[in-house]
Symmetry: C2
Subunit: 189 residues, 2 copies
């Protein structure tokens, strides 16, 4: 891709994320975004039809990154590991400014639901791949986990917890094991 396109998009997205962290999405203007990105206003319209499109693409990009962060081990592992979970939480920690702003009360409407939906699809696929229901109603289990995980993420990115990303990852990993979402450790007889 042309270097100019990359630079412009990065600048625009960066400015947008900054602004999201500073004020309500509705009162962000294209002028502000262009100014902050040090880019002509026309350039913004060249890449995005309006600020809703910009928001949408921004969210999509982050969700792709998030999903990607769940299996970074060269595709060799089909299931998350303690290691990959640490990596995911590390990613969330690094991008906390965006996720926190989007999740905030007056942040991006329905963002929490979209995040939850992404997590739900992830868990759903995971259960399908494992093949075993293990005595639980699948829909309930998956819903349960998606909601819980969304909450954990919110705690992390809004700095509402004193636990570090690594500590949180460790705790959540234990919960995943307890809920039989990952290959079980054999209890020593």
């Amino acid at each position: 891709m042309d270097r100019r396109i990359r630079k412009s998009r990065e600048a625009i997205i960066g400015a947008f994320i900054q602004l999201i962290g500073e004020k309500n999405f509705e009162q962000i203007t294209i002028n502000e975004i262009a100014e902050r990105a040090n880019v002509s206003r026309g350039t913004v319209y060249l890449h995005y039809t309006d600020k809703y499109d910009l928001l949408d693409q921004c969210i999509r990009t982050h969700f792709v990154q998030l999903i990607d962060s769940c299996l970074p081990c060269g595709e060799q592992a089909l299931f998350p590991t303690a290691e990959s979970l640490r990596y995911t939480f590390r990613y969330l920690d690094d991008h906390a400014s965006f996720y926190a702003a989007a999740l905030a009360n007056q942040g991006v409407p329905a963002f929490r639901n979209r995040l939850q939906a992404v997590l739900l699809r992830g868990f759903d696929k995971q259960v399908d791949m494992s093949g075993i229901n293990r005595g639980m109603e699948k829909g309930i289990l998956v819903q349960f986990l998606a909601v819980a995980m969304t909450g954990m993420i919110e705690q992390l990115v809004t700095r509402a917890t004193t636990y570090s990303a690594a500590e949180l990852a460790e705790q959540v990993w234990a919960l995943m094991e307890r809920n039989q979402m990952v290959p079980q450790v054999q209890p020593t007889p």
Copy 2:
């Protein structure tokens, strides 16, 4: 000026100053500069004939800034004040990375001399404006001060002293008074 030109120049200068701080000027390549600036190699040649021109323009810009920093009080003051001197040292402190790199042993050849020359011209003008020689050979006094000030600047920007920019400014101001380079304070009789 076209926004693209501003952005490109800033990126190139920024990359160049970074590199100056990392390695010998001679072994810096145009490729590196372009890469670091996230700019096409051709763009560098669009603004600078070669790296020597880039260096030259970079030095010129900094010297203009430096001179500018000496009288920031809206041109109302003809002579430096304790306040303006603090401002100047603050400026040097903020741009220490460049000045230190340029002054370094294997930094920019003859940079120290050019800096000294700038300071010399400044002091010379200052003595002329004051109109009074006060019993000193002007050339000697000015030379003396320019050399001394260059040394002070080097101390500051290379972090060779534990004194802060403000402390240094205060001390140097006292020396300026002692050498009758500024309007004298009346000794209380």
